[in-house]
């Protein structure tokens, strides 16, 4: 079984986000980039499937500008067999365009199981997995917290609202990974050494049609400055009064 893992590089969760002068994108200067946390669950799950003998080969693919090679090095350091950089400067906030760009290359690479994060924490779209499945005409099980591969069939637990759905589908299929699936490992020292030397193959991909375009980016409205009502239990009556009469929320 060949596993393809999609890896996106995103700003660190602690990063300060500054909007560029033209208000169309963010200013990347000084921003630390990391592997999208949900994609780490995907990498880990692939490695576990290989260790259990269910998978034979893992290739990680990342779409984006040159900096994403760093994310691929992390994947190598964790233990994936091969990586491919799909090079584009055209990574907007348009999920469909991203899915279209990916689907063309993925058709060429081929896979039995495709693992990816349930969401990229930068644009937070949660679109690409299910879209890709439609473009490739394979099933997609999204937001998965438990996974079993038995021969050609896959049983996964999907997180719903107030429920967990136990779903079954046949390979090839796409799984989008949620927290709870596993605990991603730290790269080994040997892995890090290997990753440093790894030649990363790249392929330039054509920009797709855009159906969604950015008009402008903005910062959230600043919240009104709050107040300290008081100290300890003695402040409780005043707090309750404010919640009833001022904020009118209870």
């Amino acid at each position: 079984m060949k596993i393809l893992v999609l890896v996106k590089q995103v700003p660190d969760t602690e990063a300060t986000i500054r909007i560029s002068g033209d208000r169309k994108k963010i200013d990347e200067a000084g921003v630390k980039f990391i592997v999208n946390p949900y994609d780490e669950f995907a990498i880990e799950e692939a490695l576990k499937l290989k260790e259990s003998g269910a998978a034979t080969f893992i290739v990680a693919v990342s779409l984006g500008p040159d900096r994403v090679k760093e994310a691929l090095r992390t994947a190598v350091a964790m233990g994936v067999d091969d990586v491919l950089h799909l090079k584009t400067a055209d990574l907007g906030m348009d999920g469909l365009a991203t899915a279209q760009l990916l689907s063309e290359s993925i058709k060429e690479i081929g896979f039995d199981l495709l693992l990816m994060g349930k969401e990229a924490i930068d644009d937070g779209n949660m679109q690409v997995g299910p879209m890709l499945a439609e473009l490739l005409d394979v099933p997609c099980l999204s937001v998965v917290t438990a996974l079993q591969v038995n021969g050609a069939s896959v049983v996964a637990e999907r997180e719903g609202d107030g429920c967990a759905e136990v779903l079954e589908a046949q390979l090839p299929c796409i799984i989008t990974c949620q927290k709870g699936l596993n605990e991603p490992r730290y790269p080994s020292i040997r892995g890090v050494m290997l990753a440093k030397k790894k030649e990363i193959a790249e392929k330039i991909v054509q920009s797709a049609n855009h159906t969604v375009s950015v008009e402008s980016l903005s910062y959230p409205q600043a919240r009104q400055a709050g107040m300290i009502v008081g100290e300890g239990a003695a402040a409780v009556p005043e707090l309750v009064k404010k919640l009833r009469e001022e904020a009118k929320v209870i």
Binding site: G95, V155, G162, E165, E168, T211, I228, E231
Partner: protein, 324 residues
């Protein structure tokens, strides 16, 4: 006249509250662009309330009701929604950004080559184009996106848009739609209820969250008690979840749920940037923290500096007094 399709959601045969938000927003948008509002209800054993969507502005209600729809099934849902879009020549499709909405709408969008905006917090009509605002970088910024495709798909963040009864007493005509005979690729073996009958943080108007400061699973009893007397849901920080005190479904934040309640009470939680990502949309934030320098103190609307084990019981007592 063009059509806006409002895809609603049923849970246990009843309309979920996000359905009313979606229909209301479709109605508001329809007035700006001059369109009809068709609501689509999908489920099994749906009760008669479908017609009441007329009160929120639906001009027609389509109902797909069948045993096969008892649980969420992506292949059937996709086919039913696409058919409803085609039959009604819908140009704009709104759906709730719930677990189902987030899974199904990208599939529909890909099949129709439709541009999609997820988890939208505001919709504008500018020079005849539809622009939708979407939080990015976990709420550290917002992107205003214009959608340029023939069909435009937008999922709405729950609890952000108001449900408004614009037409009280009006019943919309209801039309049944048949279930498609298609190949089912994803089979549901079982659906396990995870929350019991507990109120989910995503649905709650009030949330009481406990953090590391609560110190144990046992101690969460007082958080539960405060939640119970406010009809609130219990929430947790990742520190409380990772310590094994609370289940992940209660986690609020970047790697948990995003919530927009009216009131969010935080006890023994510092207000980390990742937690903030999940609750910055709360209308009123209250912090109970013994550290006056905790980041949340600066951001909360009202704070009490003190030990939560003294403040929370006093709060329970005070609220019981006023609520009887």
């Amino acid at each position: 006249m063009s059509t806006i399709l409002a895809v609603t959601e049923c849970r246990d045969g009843k309309l979920h509250k996000t359905s009313l938000e979606v229909v209301s927003q479709a109605k508001a948008l329809s007035e700006k662009i001059g369109a009809g509002v068709v609501a689509l209800v999908i489920g099994s054993g749906i009760s008669v309330e479908s017609a009441s969507l007329g009160e929120y502005g639906a001009t027609k209600v389509l109902v797909a009701d069948g045993q096969a729809l008892e649980n969420y099934q992506p292949d059937l849902y996709k086919s039913i929604i696409i058919e409803a879009i085609r039959q009604n020549s819908a140009e704009i499709v709104l759906a709730p950004a719930t677990a189902i909405g987030k899974d199904i709408m990208p599939r529909v969008a890909a099949r129709l080559e439709a541009g999609m905006v997820s988890d939208c917090t505001k919709i504008l009509v500018q020079d005849h184009t539809i622009q939708a605002e979407h939080p990015i970088f976990a709420g550290k910024a917002f992107a205003l996106l214009s959608v340029n495709s023939a069909v435009k798909i937008i999922t709405l963040r729950p609890s952000v848009f108001d449900a408004i009864q614009t037409n009280p007493g009006v019943a919309a005509p209801v039309e049944k739609v048949g279930l498609p005979a298609i190949e089912i690729k994803v089979k549901t073996r079982e659906v396990k209820k995870t929350g019991g009958n507990k109120l989910d943080v995503a649905d709650a108007d009030i949330i009481v969250t406990g953090g590391r400061g609560v110190r144990s699973a046992e101690n969460f009893k007082i958080i539960e008690e405060l939640a119970a007397c406010l009809n609130a849901a219990v929430g947790a920080t990742r520190a409380a979840v990772d310590s094994g005190w609370r289940p992940h479904e209660e986690q609020v934040g970047q790697t948990g749920k995003v919530v927009s309640p009216n009131l969010y009470i935080m006890c023994g939680a510092s207000g980390s940037i990742q937690h903030w990502a999940g609750m910055s949309g709360a209308k009123c934030i209250v912090a109970v923290n013994k550290d006056p320098n905790a980041p949340i103190i600066e951001r909360a609307d009202y704070s009490i500096i003190g030990d939560l084990f003294e403040v929370v019981p006093a709060l329970i007592e005070e609220i019981r007094k006023i609520r009887g």
